[in-house]
């Protein structure tokens, strides 16, 4: 059997980083090959080289035994190689249909778009994924999860020979994931090769035929999925045992710190009340679009049309802006670190001190040495991997970026900490480090609210689990009563009564 | 719809409206014209619409304004045309609609107008340069500070001045410096003086240019070495003339032109005949002749 694609001796360096060292890989027809590795291992870089987004410093690519040159995405597409990028890559002002067929539009010879055909075809593709999105919707109006599904639909609409998916499930929930897997099985059956990157080991075990493991830019082994288990994968990927993935330490739960009463946003959230106590993690579960992020935004002063009361330490407070929230000792790690968590053009230190700059100022003047000192301490404490504190955060891997966001809020010494999808797109090892940090927070008596679409994570880390469905709080489960089934029941509960 | 009878046989409204379309509403020279016109309009209890493009490069805007005024059926129009070709058509249109048009300051390419009141700017430029060269003994370096290109009257003053200066081998004429406003004229003159310590004379074709040039000369302590001849006569220029910084002013009669324009328009509306062309005198004012009654009258049209 001839391999569909082979990559030989690929090397790639970025300023200050050797991203890929002598990587060789073969991809067989009709298989799902998972690429596994920690954040920054070089997975995306390797795939971008195959997709023509980046050029290798050296090395060769063979397609069905033939040596080929890939200099652009157009080149790659000529061989049927398509990629869903890790960062969302849609055009916000165009419709779903236009996004699905961007660059491959249905048009007459004279260049006029055939709208009807395009909308129909788009609808077909969306149907394959069981999506009810109207193809005329402007992408800007979609949620993150819906956008991700549109990207997947876009990939499915190609007649790909090789389909690369870089963390396609990072932003979607189980239902959509199942839909995706069904499609992947179909594609496999028709001989399409799938290259799949994910940090979710369970789904790796479920979907893959083989696993290509990378560490620090090098290939450390390829395993057949049915001959291995997650422990072996982790060991290979991290280079050592990491122990229990959810190292939850139950700490003493204290007084109530934070309470929300009758919070509503017309048309979005309906009469939501809950409270969090010191030393407790309150998990928030729900399906895509359930309104968890909207709720967190509202608590943090981001929504003017919100009604309802917020109490901190049993005192009623007014929070009209993030500024108020921060003043009241709140911190918010948002779900989109690149858009709302970090200033990508700033170095690490300035990001870490952004919310707490007053600690390094005297009469409004910044003491940059002290600032750097504080940032360095924070980086060491969080084990951020970077040349130094002046490195631009845009060049860091996802896990390290997430640690910098956490570092920013740890500096403020806040009492109430909101984490929205804190481990999205983060490797197991970094995940575990973040869980340890959460333990540290609860141990120090902080109140933690954690939104996550990763139910094992919710179950592994929370004291109680709140579940939202269509903007309604359908229940709060003590951890003893919470499991996949009880959560899903609440998450899908019909709220229209 | 309201009943409107246009054309010549219009119902006599109790109040006559006069349009005054200038080259640029952002120029004090035209405002002096307006003040003259206003006096005449106030006398007969009419309404004066003072309008024009904001910048004097916007010819199409001036055309549009003419069209809009014609559409709004004013009783007469005073126009200082920005371009002789472009404004010909609107002038014809107005005249055809029975609206008398008095052209002021610059020509238009049509004979179909009521009256033309203007000073000859080329001749004025020549005269000014003659004054300047006479006072420096027809030798040495001279500079022209002009307004931004595109204003016919200023362009023509520059052309006249250059024409005259080129007659003398012993005179070195520096390239014209076009200046947007007083600040720019000041900077340009400063730079010219730096590069030409032996500069003998400056001709400024407009009042703002004159003030900028005079300031530069004063700042450098050069008032005894550099002669200045300038157009117009705003209060600051007159003061500088008194102080001896400016040596001569070529004074047109903008106030008079505005007043006369309205007078002619009223006559034309009443069917009386008016002169087809009037060339108000250009008067050269110097420190010595300032107090002559004739000069005093053009320097201070509203009295001292």
């Amino acid at each position: 059997m001839v391999n569909k694609v082979e990559m030989h001796n690929i090397e790639k360096s970025f300023p200050g980083v050797k991203a890929l060292t002598n990587i060789s890989m073969e991809i067989r027809p009709g298989e799902v090959l998972v690429i596994l590795g920690e954040n920054g291992a070089g997975k995306s870089t390797l795939m971008k080289i195959l997709a023509g987004v980046q050029k290798p410093d050296s090395g060769q690519v063979f397609f069905k035994g033939q040596n080929i040159e890939i200099n652009s995405t157009k080149d790659a597409e000529r061989y049927g190689i398509y990629m869903i990028y890790q960062e969302l890559n849609l055009v916000p002002h165009l419709s779903v249909a236009e996004n699905i067929f961007l660059g491959r539009e249905f048009s007459t010879k004279t260049g006029f778009i055939k709208w009807k055909q395009m909308y129909e075809e788009a609808e077909n593709v969306l149907k394959r994924l069981n999506l009810t999105i109207d193809p005329r919707t402007i992408v800007e109006d979609l949620s993150v999860a819906q956008s991700q599904m549109v990207e997947i639909a876009r990939a499915l609409s190609t007649n790909a020979e090789v389909l690369i998916m870089d963390e396609p499930t990072a932003a979607i929930t189980n239902q959509e994931t199942e839909e995706l897997f069904r499609q992947i099985e179909k594609l496999k059956a028709s001989g399409v090769s799938i290259l799949y990157i994910s940090h979710r080991l369970q789904e790796v075990m479920e979907i893959s035929d083989r696993v290509f493991v990378m560490r620090d830019g090098a290939h450390v082994g390829t395993l057949n999925t049915n001959e291995t288990d997650t422990n072996e994968l982790i060991r290979l990927m991290v280079g050592r045992e990491i122990g229990d993935l959810y190292p939850k330490v139950r700490s003493d739960v204290g007084e109530e710190v934070f309470r929300v009463e009758h919070l509503s946003i017309p048309g979005v959230l309906h009469d939501i009340s809950f409270s969090v106590r010191a030393g407790e993690v309150l998990g928030f579960a729900g399906l895509m679009g359930a309104g968890r992020t909207e709720l967190m935004d509202a608590i943090f002063g981001g929504n003017r049309s919100m009604t309802g009361d917020i109490y901190i330490n049993n005192k009623k407070v007014t929070i009209n802006s993030p500024e108020d929230a921060v003043k009241h000792g709140m911190a918010y790690v948002t779900e989109d670190r690149k858009k709302t968590g970090l200033i990508l053009s700033f170095p690490i230190d300035l990001n870490i001190t952004l919310a707490s700059i007053r600690k390094s100022t005297k009469y409004s003047f910044i003491d940059h040495h002290r600032e750097e000192e504080l940032a360095k301490q924070s980086m060491d404490g969080l084990k951020v991997k970077a040349p130094n504190q002046n490195t631009l955060v845009s060049t860091l891997s996802g896990g390290n970026q997430q640690k910098v966001v956490l570092g920013k809020w740890l500096q403020t010494n806040s009492q109430i900490i909101i984490l929205d999808e804190p481990t999205r797109g983060i490797d197991v090892n970094s995940k575990r480090e973040i869980y340890l940090l959460i333990n540290g927070l609860t141990k120090a008596g902080k109140a933690v609210i954690m939104v996550s679409s990763d139910i094992p994570e919710i179950l592994g880390m929370s004291e109680r689990v709140a579940v939202l469905s269509e903007g309604h709080l359908t229940g709060i489960l003590p951890i003893e009563e919470a499991n996949q089934i009880t959560i899903m029941e609440l998450a899908t509960q019909d709220t229209r009564i | 719809e309201k009943e409107t009878t246009g054309g010549t046989g219009k119902k006599s409204k109790d109040k006559k409206t006069f349009g005054l379309v200038v080259m640029s509403t952002n120029s004090d020279y035209w405002i002096t014209v307006k003040n003259g016109a206003k006096e005449a309009v106030d006398k007969i209890g009419g309404e004066l619409i003072f309008t024009g493009p904001a910048t004097n490069s916007d010819i199409q805007e001036q055309v549009s304004i003419m069209e809009n005024l014609i559409n709004s059926k004013v009783d007469a129009i005073l126009l200082t045309p920005l371009d002789s070709d472009a404004l010909a058509e609107p002038v014809n249109k107005a005249m055809d609609a029975g609206i008398p048009v008095i052209i002021i300051d610059s020509i238009v390419n049509t004979d179909n107008y009521t009256s033309f009141i203007a000073t000859d700017n080329v001749a004025g430029g020549e005269q000014a340069m003659k004054m300047l060269l006479d006072s420096i003994g027809e030798e040495g370096k001279v500079a022209i500070i002009n307004a931004l290109a595109g204003i016919p009257s200023n362009d023509n003053r520059g052309i006249g001045a250059e024409k005259y200066a080129k007659k003398f081998k012993s005179v070195k004429l520096l390239p014209q410096q076009h200046s947007l406003d007083q600040a720019a004229a000041l900077e340009n003159t400063e730079n010219i003086i730096t590069a030409n310590p032996d500069l003998k004379g400056i001709f400024a074709t407009f009042n703002r240019g004159a003030l900028g040039a005079a300031q530069a000369v004063v700042n450098r302590g050069k008032q005894d070495d550099i002669k200045i001849v300038a157009y117009d006569a705003d209060p600051d220029e007159i003061r500088l003339l008194e102080e001896g910084v400016i040596d001569a002013l070529v004074v047109q009669q903008p106030y008079e032109m505005g007043r006369l324009g309205i007078e002619f328009a009223v006559k034309a509306m009443n069917g009386e005949k008016v002169e087809k062309e009037v060339n108000p005198e250009v008067i050269v004012a110097t420190k010595e002749n300032m107090d002559d009654p004739k000069v005093e009258k053009v320097l201070f049209p509203n009295g001292k």
């Binding site: 987004v53 652009s72 995405t73 597409e77 890559n89 849609l90 055009v91 916000p92 002002h93 165009l94 236009e98 961007l102 660059g103 491959r104 539009e105 048009s107 260049g111 006029f112 778009i113 017309p266 048309g267 979005v268 | 719809e1 309201k2 409107t4 409206t17 509403t25 309404e47 619409i49 003072f50 309008t51 024009g52 904001a54 910048t55 490069s57 916007d58 010819i59 199409q60 805007e61 055309v63 549009s64 304004i65 069209e67 809009n68 005024l69 559409n71 709004s72 059926k73 371009d83 002789s84 070709d85 472009a86 010909a88 058509e89 390419n109 931004l148 290109a149 595109g150 362009d155 076009h178």
Partner: protein
Amino acid sequence: MLKKYGPLIILGILMIILSFASPYFLTTNNLTTVAIQTAVIGVITIGQLMIIVTGGIDLSLGSILAFSSVIAAMMLKSGTPLIVCLIVAILIGAIAGYVNGTLVTKFKIPAFIATLGTGEILRGSALIITNGLPVSGLPKSISVFANGKIGFIPVPIFVFALLAIIFQVMLSKTLIGRHVYALGSNVEATRLAGINVGQRTRMVYMFAGILAAIAGVLLLGRLTSAQPTAAMGYELDSIAASVIGGASFLGGVGTAWGAIVGAFIITVLKNGFTLLHVNTFFQQAATGFVLVFAVYLDMIQRTKRRGSKKKV
């Protein structure tokens, strides 16, 4: 819907007010005048709008107009056939626009600076070749572009309408148009979709240059002479018209017909003020006020639309 018709509503309100305020406003004669007055700035605005959709800006369009019309006029005066002069003017516009596009896409110079620079260069050149003086004494035939009629439609209105339709269709119905929106909206994603964004962008700048040159010809017809200082400030007017018409500086948003409505708002305002005998200084202040207010209204309407959508 409100988003789409917002500027039109503002124009409508303005026209209703004016037709009550002045008996002269709502006459065929005056409305034709307004349309002719809008033609030149309107044609420029179409180009500006497309550039704004790409996320750029063009501060050279007025200078392109001046330069190309001065050249055309000089050739015309020396006896060159009209059609040749037209072709030359359009070629100049195309080249100037293409240079702008190249500076922006290949040399990565911000559009603001690139076009400010080429604008100064072209304006300076127009002044140099004419020595700052207007080119006049052109054959009368040129005024066909102002006073001629096609059927019963004045030529400038016909040309304006034709160009408006062509480019509105191009933007909304063709591949090129959709790619222009795509690259204005997210240039990286568009590039990754295999679309040659540089070439598309240069094309848009070139179209804008051509439109400026055509506007120059219309102006030539209207003024029957060419000025090196013509059309100064038309850049800001066309930008304001585009934004009033719903375009955003962030790119990816805006329609040709919205921008044209924006251009009409500006012209109608000026026309109305003059009909009402408003002092020019007041006009200037009031125009500033209307500008801010129109964009503000449009803003609220769009926010409302978002709001109502959420409730669905």
